[in-house]
Symmetry: C2
Subunit: 134 residues, 2 copies
């Protein structure tokens, strides 16, 4: 991956901005993320990476699909693993399909819970803009 010079995403949780529907021409928008003991723990970019690892069964393919360097992908995965105190991915070496990487239960749980909160956040935005008027 490195030789292609793909640019690492500096602030990966910033790729998703969510809105909750318009009200009289105004839309309440926002973004959320979860901090751990080192700073960002889970955000939209990290979740996208985990989902792509699940989809492709490969960290390098996952990283490539979201235009992230392999190095950056590993940096993010290590950061999540360290802060959670458990691993989010497990890599099988060899086997009939030549190995691959899949998510652990903790990794799956991270995705599920992040989207659960995000969904509620969208509802919050949609509700709060209704009382807004200038």
């Amino acid at each position: 991956m490195k030789k292609r010079g793909r640019k690492a995403l500096k602030d990966p949780h910033h790729f998703c901005v969510t809105g909750g529907g318009k009200h009289e021409g105004y839309e309440l928008k926002g973004k959320i993320w979860i901090d751990g003991n080192e700073g960002t723990f889970l955000g939209y970019g990290r979740i996208a990476l985990l989902e792509k690892i699940k989809q492709y069964g490969s960290i390098s393919k996952a990283a490539k699909s979201i235009n992230m360097s392999y190095r950056q992908a590993w940096r993010l995965i290590s950061s999540m693993n360290r802060q959670a105190g458990k691993s989010f991915v497990e890599t099988q070496i060899g086997g009939k399909n030549g190995g691959g990487t899949k998510l652990t239960e903790a990794g799956e749980k991270a995705i599920e819970q992040f989207w659960r909160i995000h969904k509620k956040f969208k509802k919050f935005l949609s509700k709060e803009i209704k009382n807004f008027e200038i």
Copy 2:
């Protein structure tokens, strides 16, 4: 102001990041803003500018206090006025105090409503992190 070369804030609503209390070492954080028909209408930076205008009774003093150029302050005020379809500030020329700028009722209302939503957002963040576990 311009001669001092103060750097304009590119993305003013990004100056406030809010969190809602920690839960088992994790903190749900986020930011919100309101879009109008031209994009950003109200965000943390614009609200800070309005509050400083209220405090100082002067756009140039307000801008200076938050390290913003006068030009950028005017750009933001015009953007809010246009999108709201009404003025957020009114300038008095002359008078015994040599004039000055104050907020209109719409400007005051914008501040009040933005913080009302922000306060609820903090509560939302604080509540939602309580169900989070990996």
